[in-house]
Each structure stands twice: as C-alpha cells, then as structure tokens.
C-alpha cells in the first residue's frame, strides 16, 4: 500500500511539472490570436506557474512582444516557445485591449506569488489582496504551502482570506471572515464592511469580526500616536535641552540657539563629506559628527558669550535682540558658504528600515534612534551638572554669584563654559535633526519658538521639567493632529500653553526655595 502511494507520488511529481510546461506551450499560440483568445491564453499562463510565463507576460503588458504568424517573439528576438533565436522579419507588435490588460493584472499577481524575490512575493500578495477574486484561491494556497518568509506568508494568508470572502460558497466565506477578523489592519476592516453589504446572511459573523478588529485597532492607533508623539517630543527635547541650560539655568535668552542647531547639522554634513575619501569610515560619519558638532557649536557659543552677551548681563530684552541679530548673521553666512538649497545627509545602513512590533505597529528606525539619542544627551547633561566639578561650580554660580566668587570660583569662566555647554548640546541636536529634517540655513528657526515653549511649559531651570514638557507637548501635538490637522494642532498647543501658564506661571516643575526668588 505504502509502496503504491510512493509510486503515485513519484509519478505526480514527475508529471505535474511536465503538465505545467505543456500548458505553457499550449497557451502560447493563443497570444497571437484575437483579444478573446489572448485573454484566455493569459489566464492559462497565469495558472501555469511556469517560470518562463512571468517575463513573457511582463513583456506583453509593456507592449514589447512581437508575433510572426503563430510564433511569439520575446523582446530579445528569441522564440518564446523554444528560447532559440528566431527569424524576426516582418514581425509585428502584439497589441492588447483592456480586457486582456485586466486578465494580465491578475495573472501577473499570481505568477509573482512564486517569484524568487521575497519583496516581489510580498508585493504580489498585496496586489492580490486588493484585487481579490475567488480564482486566486488555488494559486494562493499553493504559494502559502511553499512560503518560508513569515512576513510574506502572513500577507498571503490575508490575501487568501480576502479572496475567500468573495467566493461563492458561504462556508469558504466564513473561513475568510475568521482570518480577517484576526488581523489588525484598516484594510481588513474595510473589506469586511464591504462584504457585509452583499452578504446579509453573514452579517452577524462579520460584525463580530469587525468589532474584534476595532478593539485591537484602538490599541494600535494609541501605540502609534504615542510613538509619533514621543518621536516629536524627543526632537523638541534635543532642541530645548541646550536652551534649558542657557535660558533656564543662566537666564540668558539666546535667540541664536536655533542657529547653533543649524551649525550642528552642517557640521554633520561637512564630516560626512570629509569621510567620503575613506570608504570604511563613511558608515561611522554620523557618530563622529556628534563630538564634532558639540565642539563647533560649543566654541561658537563660548565666543558669543565672551565677546558679546557678557556685556549685556542683566538686560534680557537687549540680549534677546542682540542674539537675534547674531542668528541672522550666522544664517546668512551659512547660506553664502553652503548655498540656500537643502544639503543631503545620508542615514547609515544600521539606522534605516522599519521595525515591526506585534499588533501590526510599524516603527521607523531612525526615529527610534533619535529618541534613544535624546535620552542619552539628557543623561549626559544631568551627569555633567550633578556629578562633575564643573557642574558643581555652575550650580554655585547660579545660586549665588558673589558667594561663589568669594569661594574662589572664577565666575566669568564658569559662565563661558556653561554657555558653551548649552550651545554644544544644540549642536548635538543638529546631528539628530539632520536625519529627520532638511539641512538648510533656516533649519533652526522652525524649532526656536517650540523650544522656548517647552522650557517655559516644563519650568525654567529644571532639566526634568524640560523632559516632561517636551514629551508632553510632543504627544499632545500628535493627539490633536488627527482631527485638527498639523497646523491647527500647532496653534492649539500654543493656545493650551498660554492657558496653562495662567494656572502655573512658573511651569510644570517650578523651582522652590531660594533659587526661585533670584
């Protein structure tokens, strides 16, 4: 008995491919006939699963097939049946009409399901999911049994479920509904709702499946909004951290802060261009840019503080105007040096791509890196302030400048270093922003107002307040965005901050004690 089975299976294995080849050869001449026979031939070629059918049908859809009598000629001039070079005199292009074109679309989708490239198979599963026809069911089932890549397989199963939904038998439809109900995607939900209108008998099951999708979609949307909010928040945090030190701790209002961010982004660009000469260094140009940007922006900050701001201590409004002028000069200088157009900073390979979490949540990796980086920078700032000698001196000068001076602290030097430190953090923010924003001379202007809002919202002089303020504003922005649009969300957030300041004029994390009265 077993032996007979084995023989039968062996026979099947030998005969099936042969039969497939036959159907390829059988169908081929049909392409040379009228539109009706063309469409039929395309259907048969699509069902054949023959590896030669895919390039053939692609050439047909692009209008590159020629015919000579019943012989079909491939674009390279060879006979489609034998693969040998053939006589191409007086060959004419094979023309097709819309009916053939629509048959082609389905056939190509089915053939791509067995393509070698997993990306192509994924795309094919997607197009079959969208075109959904019960005729695709056998091809999909066959493809799923052979599929080894989980991502593609998952997609194919969804496509199969969608195709089953339009099958004539209710039992098959039920199978489809069950699988679609288990997926967490807007597409499946839309498909089910569409099927509900045409299948009143299955309304109960469909409603249950939709409800099940909805309950999971809520979490998915919430998770995605949260991630987008945190991503925006981390950008705000990066831009605002330096400001929290120069404005929050020192009380110096620096309108050129955004331009320091811009300098950091351009430093990244320059480091990348310098690394181009050394190919093995190129993927690491971004990490190299971080200290470089810190130095460039920090030095610019130290020069600004020693050269100009120092003379205006105690006159905040004048400082504001003066630093705005400095920002203008920096912006114009960069515009003249690098041109007004955007400069491209590449993402290294290890930062590209998307991560997919369970539940269908997609996360872009470079945004994830920005979140991680912003937290690292925050940690660095906290450590520098709390753990180092410089941090101790800085806090002493902020609390009581004269007493600190009597204790032997050189307050002028501490001022310069603190300002350089805050500006350097702006430079590091520029490295991160070069990954998600255009590197242009006015990169900084878009962030300066938001950064000030974060510092004021979080509480002046508190780095943890800046963290909470940045993340809070980022998430708030993304929560409002879906129903108000990006611009109105921004306006709404500004209004909310204005109203918030009514209740807590000193921000979320107000300093208490003596420092608050200074």
């Amino acid at each position: 008995m077993n032996r007979i089975l084995l023989v039968l299976m062996f026979l099947l294995a030998v005969v099936l491919p042969a039969a497939a080849q036959d159907s390829y050869l059988d169908a081929l001449p049909g392409l040379a006939g009228g539109f009706g026979s063309q469409a039929e031939a395309v259907e048969r070629l699509g069902a054949s699963g023959d590896p030669r059918a895919l390039p053939l049908l692609r050439a047909l859809s692009e209008g590159q097939l020629r015919k000579r009598g019943t012989t079909i000629l491939l674009p390279n001039g060879s006979d489609a049946a034998t693969g040998q070079p053939a006589d191409a005199t007086d060959a004419e292009t094979v023309r097709i009409n819309n009916r053939v074109r629509s048959a082609l679309r389905g056939a190509l989708g089915r053939l791509q399901l067995v393509s070698i490239s997993s990306d192509e198979r994924f795309a094919a599963a997607n197009s079959v999911f969208r075109s959904r026809s019960a005729e695709n069911i056998p091809a999909l089932e066959a493809a799923i049994s052979r599929e080894s890549v989980p991502r593609v397989r998952e997609r194919q199963e969804l496509a199969l479920a969608a195709s089953r939904l339009v099958a004539p038998e209710d039992a098959v439809k039920r199978q489809g509904i069950a699988i679609l109900g288990g997926a967490t995607s807007e597409d499946s939900r839309a498909l089910l709702l569409e099927a509900r209108a045409t299948n009143p008998s299955l309304a109960g099951e469909i409603d249950a499946a939709v409800a099940s999708i909805d309950s999971r979609l809520i979490y998915k949307r919430a998770a995605e909004t949260l991630f987008q909010g945190l991503s925006l928040g981390s950008v705000l945090l990066l831009a605002a951290l330096g400001l929290a030190i120069t404005f929050g701790v020192m009380g110096v209002i620096n309108m050129a802060h955004g331009e320091f961010v811009m300098l950091g982004a351009y430093t990244t660009f320059v480091v990348q261009e310098a690394c181009r000469g050394i190919p093995w260094l190129l993927p690491w140009s971004l990490p190299l840019s971080v200290p470089a940007a810190f130095l460039v922006a920090g030095l610019a900050g130290a020069a600004l503080e020693r050269g100009l701001i120092r003379h205006l201590y105690g006159r905040p409004l004048e400082t504001l105007l003066m630093t705005f002028g400095v920002g203008m000069i920096l912006q114009q200088a960069v515009r003249l040096a690098f041109g007004a157009q955007n400069r491209e900073v590449l993402s290294p390979a290890w930062m590209q791509g998307t991560l997919s979490l369970p539940g269908g949540i997609l996360i872009t990796q470079n945004r994830l890196w920005v979140i991680v980086f912003s937290l690292l920078v925050l940690g660095l700032a906290l450590a520098a302030i709390r753990l180092t000698r410089f941090g101790l001196e800085m806090r002493a000068v902020v609390q009581n400048r004269r007493t600190a001076a009597t204790m032997g602290i050189r307050t002028g030097r501490v001022d310069a270093l603190t300002f350089a430190f805050g500006s350097g953090m702006a430079g590091m923010a520029g490295v991160a922003l070069s990954q998600i924003d255009n590197v242009s001379p006015n990169l900084g202007t878009g962030y300066i107002i938001d950064s000030f809002m974060v510092v004021v919202f979080g509480g002046v002089g508190s780095l943890m307040g800046t963290l909470v303020g940045a993340m809070g504003l980022g998430v708030l922005n993304k929560v409002i965005e879906p129903w108000a649009g990006a611009v109105l969300a921004k306006v709404a957030v500004l209004v909310i901050i204005m109203l918030f300041i009514q209740r807590r004029p000193r921000g979320l994390f107000a300093l208490k004690g003596r420092a608050a009265e200074a």
């Binding site: 409004l317 400095v326 200088a333 109105l488 901050i497 204005m498």
Partner: protein, 365 residues
Amino acid sequence: MSDVTASPAPRGIPLRLLVRGAIIAAIALLALLPVLNQLPAGSAFRVSDFTVAVTGKWICYGVLALAIDLAWGYAGILSLGHGAFFALGGYAMGMHLMRLIGPRGVYGHPILPDFMVFLGYQHLPWYWLGFDHFPFALLMAMLVPGLLAFLVGWLSFRSRITGVYFSIITQAMTYALMLAFFRNDMGFGGNNGFTDFKELLGMPLNTQGARAALFYAALALLTGSLLLCRHIVSTKLGRVLMAVRDAESRVRFLGYSVTAFKLFVFVLSAVLAGLAGALYVPLVGIINPGDFAPGNSIEAVIWVAVGGRGTLIGAILGAFSVNALKTWLTSFAPDLWLFVLGGLFVAVTLLLPHGLVGLFRRPLK
C-alpha cells in the same frame, strides 16, 4: 521729548523748540513729495512715482514703530508680535479691497473673490460679511488687532508674565497666526494672500492721484499718532506707564492696577499698528501671510532701537533710516543686507543703547 527724558535746555534757542521745528519741517517736506511728483518729467525737482510709493510705505512703518515704542519704550512691554497686528489690520483692509474688485476678477464671479472661486467656495463665508463697506473694514482694522491684543495682554499681564516671557509669547502668537493664514481653508487666500486690487473709495488705485491721496492719509495718520502718543506720555498716565517700566512691583504696591495700565497701552499700540497695516495694503497693493513672519516683527523692533526707544520721534527716525538703508543696499548687494541688519542688532544694543536720538543728547544717567 517728554519732561522726564529731555535734557536741560541749553542757552540760546531752547532745544525743545529746535526739535519741534525740525519735526514740523520734516513733515512739511514729506507733504511736498506728492506735489513734486506732479511736475513735468524733465524738471530737476521732479520726484519719481517710486519715491512717493516707497516713502508712503515708510510712513506706515513709522506708525508701526511709533506703536512699538509706546509699548516698549514707555511701558517696558517688548512685543515681538506687532507685525501680527499690522498684518491683521492689513488683512481687514485687504478684504474690503477684494470685495471692491467685484465682477472684474479673472473668473468674473459677481460676489466671490478669485481665490474662492478657484477653491470651490459656494458662498461668501460669514466673516466676510460687511467688508464691502469701507467704515466697517476700517473699524475691523482697529477692532480685530485691538481685541487680540486685549486677549493676549489680559491673559499675560494678569498672571504677571513680563519681560522676555511676554516677548516669546507674542512671537509665538504671530507665528501661530502665520501658520493659520497659510492654510487655504481659512478663507483668506492661503499663501497667495490678496492682490490685484482695483479701487478704494471710488478712486482707481495705481494712479498718481490715488497714490497722493493714500500718501497724505498715511502722513495724517503718522502726525495724528505722534500727537496722540506725545499727549499720552506727557500726562500722568504716561508717568505711571514709565513707572511700571522702571519698577513694576513698586507701582503695584502703591495701589495702581498695573494690569489695567499695561493692557491699555498694549491695546492702543495694537490698534495703531492695525491702522498702519490698513493703510499699508492699498499703498503696496498686496498682503500675504508672510507679513506675519516673526522676523518682520523683530525687524520693526530694531527700527525703534536704532532710532532710540522711549523717544517717539526716534522710533519714526529709526523706521525711516533703517528702511532707507535697506532699500539702498538691497538694490546692489542683496546678500549683504542680512549681515548689515544683524550687525545693526548687535551694534545698537551694545554700543548705542539710546539709539540715534541718544547721539544728540547728554547721557541720561
């Protein structure tokens, strides 16, 4: 100008009279420009159309600078959002001018302006109603900036948001308005704004006569505003404002309602800015959301700083001189202008805290 800030009069002709004479002479000279514009083309004294148009623009800027100086120089309120009040006044007048185009637009719709036809509007939005009447539009050019200033000022001053915090909030305000006005579905023409105006009060724009009339209206507004501001700062009200500027909490402890005083001067200042914007739009023939850009507001503040804040006449002088420099420089070295403007910010704050007017005066302290 005022008794508090003016230096003791030197012997001979009192300085105050000298300054007053110079101001009157300057206004008379300005008033002469449109007349000289009427001279035949060959005449040596003829002033070009361009000069009249540009000077008219500067006069509007002068009113804006005056408004900023009243709030900043006398009450210590540094607004970085006065460009928003200016632009709102401009938009109010722009709406009136758009309504006056009537069926002469490109699409020839009897009621809707071109951009509304283009965006598929069916009827005029409710907030456009009434703008076909000039007095209503003029009222709105004062009322809208005034109300906005009242709202922002009231929310800020009552919770004692002062100094740079207030500056940043006003900057955020104009930034938010800019974003909002860039939207097409706001009903204000999106990023193209309003242009292609035809007429105002029955006179076709883009004629010598209309330009002269608008020029005189602007000059009258400038003179009127200057007199009003002078009156305010020389009365007790002005003294209280200066006291608020110099020691806010002491004034509060003396029993004055600091919030009310600041609110009054801020709203008045916004109304003046709105009127300046309303005259500016028919003069230049266009208004778009770019006028809300934070950079414009801060540039106006630097006019005041250059001229000398807290002097009223200095603000006007600053607006004229900085803009003259801008017009002259951008014609042959546009790349250089931002360096010069940025340099002005730095130089004035560091080296010339009392501005140009301060050069002619003994140091105050």
